[in-house]
Amino acid sequence: MKFKHFSLTIAGVAAAAISLSALAQKKYDTGATDTEIKIGDTKPYSGPASAYGTIGKAIAAYFDKINAEGGINGRKIKFISLDDGYNPAKTVEQVRKLVEEDEVLFVFNPLGTPSNTAIHKYMNQKKVPQLFVATGATKWGNPKEYPWTMGWQPNYQTEGKIYAAHILETKPNAKIGVLYQNDDYGKDYLKGFEDGLGDKAKTMIVSKVSYEVTDPNVDSQMLSLKGAGADTFFNITTPKFAAQAIKKAAEIGWKPTHYLNNVSASVGSVLTPAGLDNSVGIITTQYGKDPTDPQWANDKGMQDWKAWMAKYYPSGDLKDASNVYGYGVAMTVVQVLKQCGDNLTRENVMKQAANLDMTLPTALPGINVKTSPTDFYPIEREQLARFDGKTWVLFGKVYDPAGN
């Protein structure tokens, strides 16, 4: 009896050996094993930008879903998200902890332009992917100099160009007033907008006014824009200040053609507090579906999203577009990992990230996620939409600045 038993074990071992060799081509970098993929991330859970901390929680919830459904090719995702309080010095420290101590495979969706600038050089020196950064600055899509860094959302300058193009088409002799936040996010939008207007920028823009995150409100800035006689308004503000600007414009009876940057285009958390009737006619660009927008109420993609939120992130706010953002970007990185299969080296992760061609259920129809070794801007297409008092109504063509 013992002998038979013994032979079985030999056979077992042999079989295991064979199966191992069959899959010999499994290649791993630090942070990936047969059973686990370690992914790092930094988010401002505290400090001035803590409103965006919910993106980190949404991503973690999506990975919970993936793990619950068996992970990716049998590997569970271990997601380590650290707080940097939107302070670049802290980001550097946390990211070094992720890379050198936690030894993650790659850093995914770190948030904030200053934070990402702080680690831009480090990540490329260390050859660790800085994947799908959560900022729209244009400099993240530069494969030649920074092959290990890639953006995700449409970048601010492209969006600025779209608004400029639309103004040139519809209102060539418009007098434009611009309100922008005095930091990298605000200035990137402004640069794209001015490039989009070309040499007419100097004549058409009658007034450019900035505000500080520490200002109590933007009433004074809105008054000087109205005072400058602008009949078109490009509003580059974060949610709180966007709501103030919309409400103040109505209060002082200033009714320009109002272009609102996508960052603050959520019906639930911006237009409702500002007053839906004050927001009629506002134009923005969209690439994702707004969760509070009634027109997507019975859209399959959004219903899956709501079901996922209820199950994995019940404390999350259904009105907050950031949670849709987190869902979408997490889905993209899961796709990349699926494409990597068993070759989980950092180099392969970047290679797969650079040949994506997919669509997201929470993205607008016609918007795709497309990259190539030379195009490190996954989402570039956007479509203009006008607010009719209840929902965003898409109109016009889908702008595709990259032309592919």
């Binding site: 803590s50 919910t54 500080e212 520490t214 004074s220 109205k226 005072g227 409400k247 911006v270 507090p273």
Partner: protein, 290 residues
């Protein structure tokens, strides 16, 4: 020209906001000779309480009064529990405790009520008689509310025995004890008032700047500037200081140095006032017998 007038009035409206916070700061200074660095965050937290009450369906004015009461009680409790042990400690220890409170209240606001921007209703209907050419209904409404608070405070300190006792305790604690005044309780009442006024300031500010955990961060500094400019031991001075700071800030921002340097304006204002007029425009000359 019309824009210029608009700027002045919007400056006055902002001035109201700074004035009401300055009033709360003066309340605590009068009672305890300390500047409460946590005043802004306490006001934000009270405003969140009011918001939560209104969400649960309470009518505005009931929520308003309830928050006023809760904030008063909270102010008293804070003094009794947290500040009494350091009552006799030097200024630095107190400053540290205030900053500890600031961090706690800011974190609590974010933790309990999360960070999304919330609209806060204004008690003054938009089309009511209060709406004038330059002031929105809410702006003139909050101006009147602040005036009412100022008068109520003036009457309280002038005519009620508790008010008199508080003034005595603030001025000469030892003599106050000799006439039987429980000085420590007077400090607690001072904190109660400051918390209640802070709550009121928060409820007046929220409709125009929208409610989120960092609502008061910027405003607090302007509140300090107003209190110091106006005279930190004089409630009327604080409010007038607020109006001056509001208008000055708007005009300089719009016409002189641009909006990028608003905080620098506050810095110059504070340092300038403190060095040239230490007791502010309307404050009493503080003569300390050596």
């Amino acid at each position: 020209m019309e824009a210029f007038v608009h700027q002045i009035f919007s400056g006055l409206a902002n001035g109201c906001i700074y004035g009401s916070i300055a009033l709360a700061l003066v309340m605590i200074y009068q009672a305890t000779h300390h500047l409460n660095f946590a005043q802004g965050e306490m006001a934000t937290f009270s405003t969140f309480i009011a918001w939560a009450l209104i969400q649960r369906g309470l009518p505005y004015w009931l929520a308003f009064l309830l928050t006023f009461g809760i904030s008063f009680a909270a102010g008293v409790l804070i003094q009794r529990i947290i500040l009494r042990p350091v009552e006799k400690a030097p200024v630095l220890t107190n400053v540290n405790v205030f900053i500890g409170l600031l961090l706690i209240f800011n974190a609590l606001s974010g933790w309990i009520f999360d960070h999304t921007v919330k609209a806060f209703p204004s008690p003054f209907p938009q089309e009511s008689a209060l709406k004038t050419a330059y002031f929105s209904a809410h702006e003139s409404g909050s101006f009147l509310v602040m005036l009412a608070v100022l008068l109520a405070l003036y009457a309280f300190f002038r005519f009620t025995p508790v008010g008199l006792a508080m003034r005595a305790a603030a001025q000469n604690p030892e003599s106050a004890r000799l006439v039987g005044i429980r000085v420590s309780w007077m400090l607690a009442v001072g904190w109660g008032f400051a918390a209640a006024i802070g709550a009121l300031a928060g409820m007046m500010v929220a409709p125009s700047v929208f409610l989120d955990p960092n609502m008061m961060a910027g405003i607090l500094l302007y509140g300090f500037a107003s209190a110091l400019l106006g005279g930190v031991d004089n409630p009327w001075g604080a409010v007038l200081g607020g109006l001056i700071v509001g208008v000055l800030e708007n005009l300089l921002g719009a016409y002189v140095i641009g909006t990028e340097l608003k905080l620098t304006v506050a810095l110059v204002l504070i340092v300038g006032t403190l060095t040239l007029m230490p007791s502010g425009l309307f404050g009493k000359r503080v003569v300390t017998r050596v």
